[in-house]
């Protein structure tokens, strides 16, 4: 069996998650089975070298100016070429913004089975087993995919292998003649710098959809003032609604934080949020829903209405 790992880089910088993907492939493949890593981009020789040191049997490098940015059409063309050559039983990559855009279409194009956001990959007789969560983390299901198949794997589910003797890097030329690129990327925009750096805070008070509206923010701001060194942050819906600026967002599309104390108020704990804060030393969660996934990562939980609990907490903090 061959597993083809599709690595991800942006502007010549390898995504750490790609090294986790090689580890996932290594763990899923039996001894003697091959793990090939595919690196695509423009001027990404160094990326390929880095990948080569983290456990694949071979790195295939496709370097072309056509691949300066990720576009579905150009990437698909390269990957279809690589699949034709390597004939992998499993194509494995990361469940990221690129993974979400790229692989579902590839499944439709090739007729290969495809599942996203997987953990616990396991090979069984002619199939690949995978586990994933549903309903905001309330349910977990085990799946079976016939081979050949495509899976994207959840970030943090596997740990990257330590650097080792580099695998050979094989440079492949891909002809782009006749490939129409139907989307055209003009560049990237990065969010403006914030006055408060939530990544450096010792204590984070984080609010979620449970605060209901912007007008309710003052009580949470008062709580922040009652705790030394605390800053206010929020989950995605809070930022989407414009209640807090983008720089205060915790989670996959925001920032990853590891404070000593993380107080989650009215946050249910979507996986995208959890992956941005589960490394905190102590997590205190307050939510009305006892089954909210946030309680799974919390050290201390309060199953109550934040609008009753937070004022009580403020007055308790003021007592001394």
């Amino acid at each position: 069996m061959t597993i083809l790992v599709v690595c991800e880089q942006r502007q010549g910088e390898l995504k750490d998650v790609s090294l986790e993907m090689i580890a996932a492939a290594r763990k899923t493949a039996s001894e003697g089975e091959k793990v090939i890593a595919l690196v695509m981009g423009s001027g990404v020789e160094k990326v390929a070298q880095l990948v080569a040191e983290h456990g694949p049997d071979e790195v295939v490098l496709v370097d072309s100016s056509e691949l300066l940015y990720y576009t579905y059409d150009a990437y698909k063309h390269v990957l279809l070429t690589a699949i034709k050559e390597a004939r992998p039983e499993v194509v494995l990559s990361s469940y990221t913004s690129q993974g979400m855009d790229f692989f579902p279409g590839l499944a439709a194009s090739t007729g290969m089975a495809m599942l996203s956001d997987c953990v616990n990959l396991s090979k069984k007789e002619g199939t690949l087993g995978a586990t994933r969560q549903l309903y905001g983390g309330k349910i977990e299901a085990n799946y079976s995919l016939p081979l050949p198949c495509i899976v994207t794997v959840r970030q943090g589910a596997y740990s990257a292998l330590p650097p080792q003797k580099p695998a050979p890097v094989r440079k492949e030329d891909v002809d782009f003649a006749g490939v129409e690129l139907r989307t055209k990327v003009s560049g990237y925009e990065t969010p403006p710098k914030e006055d408060v750096d939530i990544e450096k805070a010792k204590v984070i008070v984080s609010v979620g959809r449970g605060i209901e509206k912007k007008e309710n923010l003052p009580v949470f701001e008062e709580l922040v003032k009652s705790i030394d060194g605390a800053v206010l942050a929020g989950s995605r819906p809070v930022i989407d609604n414009g209640w807090l600026p983008k720089g205060r967002q915790v989670g996959v599309s925001g920032k990853t934080v590891r404070p000593k104390l993380y107080v989650a108020l009215g946050i249910s704990g979507a996986i995208q949020h959890l992956s941005g804060m589960s490394g905190s030393e102590l997590i205190v969660a307050v939510n009305k829903d006892r089954d909210a996934p946030i309680f799974k990562v919390a050290g201390i939980g309060v199953v109550d209405d934040i609008f009753k609990f937070v004022p009580a907490l403020i007055s308790e903090l003021k007592k001394n």
Partner: protein, 282 residues
Amino acid sequence: MVINRTPVSCHGDLVKIAVLAKAVPDVKNVRLTMKENDIDTADLNFLINEQDSYSLEEALRLKEKFGGEVIVITAGGEARRKGMTQVVRECYAKGADRGIMIVDEAFQKLDDLARARVFSSLLTQEKPDVVICGSQSFDTATSRMGPMVAEFMGIPHASLITSLEPLEGGKAFRVSRDLEQGVQEILQIGTPCLLTTQTGINTPRYAALSKIIMATRKEIRTVSLQDAGAAQGDIGKFDLVKVVSAGFPAEKASNVLILKGTPEEEAAQLVRSLREKGLLQR
């Protein structure tokens, strides 16, 4: 002869926009029970998938700008007919022109790849300029549907969009895609195309009560898998991923200490505990 020349209006290009809207069970504050490798939805309410409500809003805004038609498409098993009807009516109340419901028990059990094949067959009959759907559905959250449908239809796609700016009178778009760490990718895409919306792209409108009442009288076209135009063999060929088992995640990972009492008692326990751990300055 004097010809009264009015300026050429950019409102002349009518667009046909199809929105894929999924009816998803509301599982907030509910104790779930299992049935046949999924949750038992018999007693649950169904809502429009939140991400799809952003898609509808974006579609309505395009229609307001260029004129044209917004078609809402939803699908599910017979048991979900009521929930799906509510979803289409909500879309009607907000301004959608036409609704199509694929009601077929067989659909409910299909892998997304086969479902995408069904949607693409139906959409190919409709020939929309733009197809819009949420980047993810709350229930299964696999983020697969949009790009799969686009590939089957042979049209380009852009996923996770956080802004949509029409160019050339709606013949093309400049969109931002939401990458990690707040980075936005800017790209151009021509029609016909499929877009998947990310949360935060807009604030969906509320429907007026009068329109909600009117919506209950508006017809919804109901079709079977066969009517949708998907060949049986085709569906089988793409129905690949199977659920083996499902249930509640093991509790072993959780060692949360749940505080008990009134809010005041809970607060006192929490402050004491945080002080003991040295996490609060006195």
